[in-house]
Amino acid sequence: MDEEIYKENILDHNRNPHNREVLDEYDLRGGGTNPTCGDELELFVKLGEDGKVTHATFLGSGCAISQAGASMLTDKLKGLPGQGMTLAGLKLLAPGDIYSMLGIHISPGRVNCALLAYRALNDGLKNAKA
């Protein structure tokens, strides 16, 4: 019961993270640091001609929550083939979306872990030209 935070899907994403690679060609690239532990994460996003995300990847190490968060977030950005999120959609993502995506209770002590990839995405959006 107590370990509810380490649900099987979280542990799965941590063991075998999706999209854990560098993109050589990308439209967005952002970084984030967890101020409580110094874990660092970089996130890359490539948009297709229709303006939808075709590739989303990340690189970095960290705790299970931050790794699962990055793995699930990059999956979410890509969506099903041809159904990636749009730039406008990325901008609308809020911390609440990340918590629902993780599907676990995030205590105040783990907020920085849960939002590490989300912060990297926002950093990328801030750096984007248009």
């Binding site: 107590d2 370990e3 935070i5 380490y6 542990l11 941590n14 063991r15 409580t36 532990c37 110094g38 874990d39 660092e40 190490s61 960290g62 705790c63 299970a64 929550i65 002590g109 783990r110 872990c113």
Partner: protein, 426 residues
């Protein structure tokens, strides 16, 4: 070893949290009932401001406050007039830097250096410093155009004293060193650095936050010009701390925080200051906190700091032995003879983990899983980022021991580590 059954009875938290395994005293210690009673006594029977009221309660409060100052002074081999009561080590450190900066006499101002200009004066600190000690010095260096140099870590997670000898030169104005590292547990040979500092006319500042109340501390024996610590890591309440300054040095320094209670004469334009240490305690201080700290010091004196250290040393040694049996563990800690009772570690796991008990676990995940079994440890960079960079890890898990801990607490930690490894097994 100490009779922990009896000692635990002195701490109401263990009555309230019956299965608590508290291994985070390096972050903050627990509070004995005598400290709570002393503070409660002030609030319930003689609450009034100090140094002002001419009525009986006012005198009682002043006496209790000054008697706490005297207890603290005795505890670290200082005189009462060398003790400034602050809100904690961070406040002490910041105040001190500003006081030194404002005083032309002790710390001559150097003109702000232009780019490329060779900078004359230097500050030497160690890479082990806590952010509370390091950052005020960094900011001072920036404002005044000084260079700041860090003594690296040497053998057995101690200071590299040979490097210190080379770094401390006639250019050095301040040498700062932590007495006990909050990450590695290392008890540093501060005296050795103090002698080097004094040989070149530099001031020796000591951060004794993890040391006072854990090992015997004597400011004179250490050769400290200034030394500071917090009450809450030595059984006292939060929000109270100490800045010790050698009498002649304190007397020459101006205040850096201004307000009531520190003045001799005030006109519309300016003010002159009263004597030290009162000059450095503007405004109504944390009276209850000071009284609580005084009671903590008396309690520690009764148990005996030497006895506490011997007890903690035995626990540290036991923990080293148990942790060493975990496959893929990396321990970052000074050997038991030089350790204040703090062990940092990471569970890296084995590359090709054959069994579940060889899995790696991130410090945050470990601390959370341990916490779920009511085993309180810490994970993170412990506000010592430069040291973590030296160690080459972003974060560690940290267990710290104090008088109320017992070997069973370490067994519980080992169980929690195993449980976490099982959860994270591939």
């Amino acid at each position: 070893m100490l009779d922990t059954k009896a000692i635990k009875k002195d701490f109401p938290i263990f009555e309230h949290e019956k299965d608590l395994v508290y291994l985070d005293s390096a972050a903050t210690s627990q509070t004995p009932q005598v400290v709570l009673d002393a503070m409660n006594g002030y609030y319930t029977s003689f609450r009034s401001n100090i140094h002002r009221g001419l009525y009986k309660m006012g005198e009682e409060a002043s006496e209790a406050y000054e008697s706490a100052r005297a207890s603290v002074a005795r505890f670290i081999g200082a005189a009462p007039e060398e003790i400034v009561l602050t809100s904690g080590a961070t406040a002490s450190s910041n105040m001190l830097v500003r006081m030194l900066e404002e005083s032309g006499s002790i710390f001559p101002r150097t003109p702000l250096g232009f780019q490329g200009e060779s900078l004359e004066d230097e500050i030497v600190a160690t890479v082990m410093e806590h952010h509370a000690s390091l950052i005020p010095l960094q900011e001072l260096a920036k404002r005044e155009g000084l260079a700041i140099k860090l003594v690296p870590v040497g053998l057995a997670y101690g200071i590299d004293y040979d490097a210190a000898e080379k770094l401390i030169t006639p250019k050095t104005k301040i040498v700062a060193c932590v007495l006990a590292s909050n990450v590695l547990g290392t008890i540093n040979d501060v005296r050795r650095l103090a002698d080097l500092a004094h040989k070149v006319g530099a001031l020796m500042i000591v951060d004794a936050t993890e040391a006072v109340g854990h090992i015997p501390v004597d400011v004179k024996k250490l050769g400290a010009d200034f030394l500071y610590f917090s009450g809450h890591k030595m059984l006292g309440p939060t929000g109270i701390g100490v800045l010790y300054g050698r009498k002649d040095l304190l007397e020459a320094l101006p205040p850096s925080v201004f307000g009531g209670g520190i003045v001799e004469k005030v006109t519309g334009e300016s003010a002159t200051w009263t004597s030290s240490p009162k000059r450095f305690e503007a405004g109504t201080p944390n009276i209850a906190g000071a009284i609580g700290l005084g009671a903590a010091v008396e309690y520690l004196g009764k148990v005996g700091v030497e006895n506490i250290h011997a007890h903690v040393r035995e626990l540290t040694s036991y923990a080293f032995e148990k942790l060493a049996q975990i496959p893929g563990i990396h321990v970052f800690a000074a050997p038991v003879e030089q350790n204040v009772g703090i062990i940092s570690f990471t569970i890296d796991g084995l590359p090709a983990a054959a069994t579940a008990l060889q899995a790696g676990v991130h410090p945050h995940d470990l601390a959370q899983i341990a916490g779920d079994s009511n085993v309180a440890i810490r994970a993170g960079h412990h506000c010592a980022a430069p040291l973590m960079q030296t160690l080459g890890v972003p974060a560690t898990a940290r267990a710290s021991f104090y008088l109320y801990n017992e070997k069973a607490d370490i067994d519980a930690l080992i169980e929690a580590i195993k449980k976490a490894q099982m959860m994270f097994a591939k």
